[in-house]
């Protein structure tokens, strides 16, 4: 496993597009969170709005709520690291190195294990960016009245799992389609148009299948934060109570996704 990781590192370390995209991801996650923090401060510093804002929003950027709030905001930007993942797999097809790696002595399983590790590492890096953003934003926004503890740090695990699951979907699209631009187009269409449309449609007709759509499964691990749920506290409570269940579904879904990739890769011509 370490040897595979070392080889993947050799492939990636001089790949400037990878580092640029990862840098943009970090920037976008931090910038989006800070934009929301700025908006919140604008409201809470306005004498006419302060009281209402305090009642409606609470302090979403203070510990412990910050883990939930930043996880939710950051998860909206999954498209950017997905670009990295799609490039990592489609490059192999473009350069035909997916064949060369096998010819040189990797098994087909080892090749895919390398990609699985890439996605795990990218998810981990994104997770670290998220943790860093939470620590900075949380420590600068927590007041004496806020309750500090570790009660919502489980969102670190949820955020990692959600990132891993959604990047795995990006990988599968790249793996099946093989062309970077087409794969990216399909990914963006799925996450931004198709799935929200289907989710809305299924929920309109009260069909539970809408909870099991590829992105929705892991999205439900991180429901909208408390301040956004003030309109419907019961729905928020229900969503928060079912996050544990969604973790299991996400794990199962991701496992099946990778199992499917390994099976296809073992059988198809390269």
């Amino acid at each position: 496993m370490l040897q595979i990781l070392k080889i993947e590192w050799l492939k990636i370390k001089s790949y400037s597009a990878f580092w640029w995209t990862l840098g943009i991801t970090a920037l976008s996650y931090i910038a989006a969170s800070y934009a929301m923090v700025g908006f919140y401060h604008q409201l809470s510093n306005n004498p006419q709005m302060a009281k209402t804002a305090q009642i409606l929003l609470g302090n979403p950027f203070a510990f412990n709520e910050v883990w939930h709030t930043i996880a939710y905001i950051s998860s909206l930007f999954i498209i950017i690291p997905s670009l990295v993942v799609i490039m990592l797999i489609t490059n192999e097809y473009t350069f035909k190195t997916h064949r060369q790696n096998i010819i040189e002595g990797w098994s087909r399983g080892q090749f895919l294990t390398g990609k699985l590790l890439d996605i795990a590492v990218v998810s981990l890096l994104i997770g670290l960016i998220y943790v860093g953003a939470c620590l900075i934003i949380g420590s600068t926004n927590t007041g004496a009245k806020d309750i500090v503890g570790s009660s919502k740090t489980y969102f670190i695990g949820y955020f990692f799992l959600q990132t891993f699951s959604q990047l795995s979907i990006a990988f599968v699209i790249g793996f099946l389609v093989r062309k970077s631009f087409i794969a990216l187009g399909i990914f963006i269409f799925s996450i931004a148009i198709l799935e929200p449309m289907l989710t809305w449609l299924f929920s309109k007709y009260d069909l539970v299948i809408g909870h099991f759509l590829p992105f929705e499964i892991s999205d439900r691990m991180i429901p909208p934060p408390a301040f956004m749920a003030k309109m419907n506290p019961d729905a928020y409570k229900l969503a928060m109570n079912s996050t544990g269940q969604q973790v299991l579904y996400t794990l199962l879904f991701s496992t099946l996704l990778w199992f499917f990739c390994f099976r296809i890769n073992a059988k198809r011509d390269l």
Binding site: K6, I7, L10, Y15, S16, Q100, N101, I102, G105, R108
Partner: protein, 297 residues
């Protein structure tokens, strides 16, 4: 000892049958040429042998064992095109090859790059290389760690005449060091110059295989000529060992059973029938001619 044994391999792409029961074996220490026109199935066959394609039927073994990833590490391969990471330099690309295959180390990478004439450009990105340089790097990757078996699919693609001569010399040097080389090529002249064994394929079928001598000398070819070619053709038609005759410019080309072409007997036979030959020559068959004979309908 046999390095590679292929038994009845078949492969189809939808309705097209690309390989129709290919069987042959590659002896250790040989330079084994796989010849065939475009679309004959050479690269498909090599792709199956290197696990990038799956055969529909049949089997093969490397070093007497069923194929495995571990075995492929002992085989240096250039298949179809040079496949490298475009954003990496030659050195970094060979590092990836070395790490995957376990062949060669850092100092050997430099030596290989010197051998294939890329040392000065070792730090340049692969995407900046010319076609010939890419091909040289692919040959370098195949040679890394001096594997016992080297598979080269069209190794002289994109090379200039000097490069072609260098690769030919390199292959001969590798053979003298005891390597087994499997070489798929269109360049019949090259194959004839360096191969010890050949397999000729056509439309997914194996037409013939064996040592170059065996494949070339399936029959003796004799050129004859006289003032009256028509009369000569009638007379020589009665010669006992003759298989066929065909006109060729101002001569007749005679195909005779292998090892039966006796020039003295032919001359005497014609003279006794009242014909004086003005040309009599035992032609050594060229691989190119044999190839066309075997692969053209």
């Amino acid at each position: 000892m046999t390095v590679l044994e292929i038994n009845d391999i078949e492969k189809s792409y939808r309705t097209t049958k690309a390989l129709k029961g290919i069987s042959f074996s590659v002896p250790e220490g040989s330079i084994f040429g796989i010849l065939g026109p475009n679309g004959s199935g050479k690269t498909t066959l090599l792709g199956i042998l290197l696990d990038v394609l799956h055969a529909d039927a049949g089997s093969f073994s490397w070093f007497g064992q069923p194929s495995s990833a571990q075995q492929r590490k002992q085989i240096g391969t250039l298949l179809e095109t040079p496949n490298f990471y475009h954003y990496l330099s030659a050195t970094r690309n060979l590092e990836v090859t070395s790490q995957i295959s376990g062949r060669g180390d850092h100092s050997e990478i430099d030596n290989i790059l010197k051998k294939v004439g890329l040392y000065e450009r070792r730090a340049s990105k692969f995407s900046t290389y010319s076609l010939g340089m890419k091909q040289r790097l692919a040959i370098g990757a195949a040679l890394l760690g001096a594997p016992s078996v080297i598979v080269l699919d069209e190794p002289t693609n994109g090379l200039d005449p000097v490069g072609i001569a260098e690769i030919r010399a390199l292959i001969l040097e590798l053979k003298s060091d005891g390597h087994t080389i499997i070489l798929a090529s269109h360049l019949l002249d090259e194959v004839e110059k360096i191969c010890t064994h050949v397999a000729i394929m056509k439309s997914g079928k194996l037409v013939t295989s064996g040592t170059v001598e065996e494949v070339l000398n399936s029959e003796d070819l004799v050129e004859i000529a006289a003032d009256n070619l028509e009369q000569l053709s009638e007379v020589i038609g009665l010669f006992p060992q003759l298989i066929y005759q065909k006109p060729e410019s101002q001569r007749l080309l005679l195909g005779m059973q292998k090892d039966t072409a006796d020039l003295e007997a032919i001359n005497e036979f014609c003279f006794n029938k009242g014909i004086v030959l003005n040309h009599l020559y035992l032609r050594k068959q060229r691989l190119e001619a044999r190839f066309f004979e075997l692969t053209q309908d």
